[in-house]
Amino acid sequence: MKILVAVKRVIDYNVQVRVKEDGTGVVTDNVKMSTNPPDDNAIEEAVKIKESGKATEVIAVTVGEEKAQETVRKALAVGADRGIHVKAEGVIEPLAVSKILQKIVDKEKPDLVFMGKQAIDDDCNQTGQMLSALLDWPQATFASKIEVKEGKLEVVREIDEGLETIEINTPAIVTCDLRLNEPRYASLPNIMKAKKKPIEQINVSDLGVDITPKIQQLKVEEPPKRKAGIKVSSVAELVQKLKNEAKVI
């Protein structure tokens, strides 16, 4: 069984994002970048399945500028076997990414495609579902537990009301939640080894996919700021304030 894992390079989750003064976007120069957190869970799960003997190959794929390759390299350092980097500049909407991934799926014929449930930059939560629509494959979104069976997966999904369990036939798409597993850290020897693993580079223009954005970003602004609050010195004062000043209890 072959597992394709899609990873995205985003602004690190610990960075306090700042909006550019001209309203065209957010500041990305000299900002720490890393792999989208739930994509790390996706890689981890694929590698664990391979280690359990149920998968034979894990391929990491990303779409983006030259530096996006770093996320593939990181995936290789934690156990992916080889990488694919689809080179593309500028904004690539989830619909376009899913069309690109569809081409990669056609070529690689994986049994499973894993990715994070949502990217923490655009917060769209679309790509996995769109890819499964284009392929007419089953989708298991927000997965917090995956059990591999013969030709099938049993997946526990995190939903608003609690948990839902579904069974999907492979080939299928799974989008991973943060609680699926605990991603491992890359060891230094594995980071060195990863440098020798192959990453195939493909120009997006060679795939015949139109990536022209269909959504125009008119402006990006800072959200309204909350006015500064006060510190209270005791629980009694807090309750008095809530009762008599804020009038919420």
Binding site: L95, D123, Q129, R157, L163, E167, K231
Partner: protein
């Protein structure tokens, strides 16, 4: 053109956020049609027909719609899409799972989780965990949009009498099978709509200590929330998680206890009207968004808090 609003329901009745989605839909175009896909979902369809903003209800019933699988729902919506300029749904786990499957088939670039309708093609949506607001214009002929329910008021729920039409079911998607749903039942208000939310974080130190939160929530008739750290640590189940990838809440009062205030948690609660933070670390980022901050050990502060509440003659419900 008209708006097709995908109703979220449990077959018997509408889920409350459907009312917020109807409000948002009506701001895109006032001809709003509600689509109720389900099994024996007459109750939900009737409730939809009573919403004054809804001009028509379309129902589709079949056994394979019982469990709301996106693979089964999407073909129904795609078949109807011809007649509509907008397809709208709430951005909760139901809509997030479903809408992109529809959008991709319609070759539409979905606009996710909008918080404001500027015009029929222009919307505002938060990005980067709500640290920036983007104003975006969709150029698609058919716009697929999910709305953040807490950013729109619920519509009126009675007084309407829209006609109910029935349309044919689509084939079942046989490669996905629903096995079970474990819903956590509680007598408390729902987290998404509660007037007061009391949340605990890693500072609670154990699931058992959440009792302290529970007793205060009981007193205030509040819902119980949690930070991702508390859910990850196994103190409480995932349906309580507030944050960028959990639920977004906008209560009148949000009480954050033992929560440091990571960016992804703030994304889920910083629009609350009044925020209280109780934390022993005076430098915790949660204090930067709190209206009232109390620097204290929660294990001392929470029992005192309950005691002070008990002293009050009346507590708003």
């Amino acid at each position: 053109m008209s708006v097709l609003l995908i109703a979220e329901h449990n077959n018997k009745e509408l889920k409350s956020f459907t009312l917020n989605a109807v409000t948002a839909a009506s701001q895109m175009d006032n001809d709003v049609h509600a689509l109720v896909i389900g099994n024996n979902c007459g109750g939900a369809a009737k409730a939809a027909s009573e919403l004054p903003l809804v001009k028509k209800v379309i129902t589709v019933e079949a056994a394979h719609y019982e469990n709301f699988l996106a693979e089964n729902f999407a073909p129904v919506i795609i078949k109807l899409a011809n007649n509509y300029s907008h397809i709208v749904c709430s951005a909760n786990t139901f809509g997030k799972n479903l809408m992109p499957r529809v959008a991709a088939k319609l070759d539409a670039s979905q606009v996710s989780d909008i918080i404001k309708v500027e015009s029929s093609d222009t919307f505002i949506r938060p990005i980067y965990a709500g640290n920036a607001f983007a104003t975006v214009k969709s150029t698609d002929e058919k716009k697929c949009i999910t709305i953040r329910p807490t950013s729109f008021d619920p519509c009126e729920s009675t007084g309407g009498s829209a006609p109910i039409e029935t349309t044919e079911a689509a084939d079942e998607f046989s490669l996905t099978k629903f096995l079970k749903r474990e819903e956590i039942k509680s007598d408390r208000p729902e987290l998404g709509t509660a007037r007061i939310v009391v949340s605990g974080g890693r500072g609670m130190q154990s699931g058992d200590n959440f009792k302290l939160i529970t007793s205060i929530a009981d007193k205030l008739n509040a819902a119980i929330g949690a930070s991702r750290a508390a859910v990850d640590a196994g103190y409480i189940s995932n349906d309580h998680q507030v944050g960028q990838t959990g639920k977004v809440v906008v209560p009148d009062l949000y009480i954050a206890v033992g929560i440091s205030g990571a960016i992804q948690h703030l994304a889920g609660m910083k629009e609350s009207k009044v925020i209280v933070a109780i934390n022993k670390d005076g430098e915790a980022p949660i204090f930067s968004v709190a209206d009232y901050g109390l620097e204290a050990d929660l294990f001392e502060a929470l029992p005192q808090f309950l005691e002070e509440l008990n002293k009050l003659n009346t507590i708003q419900k």
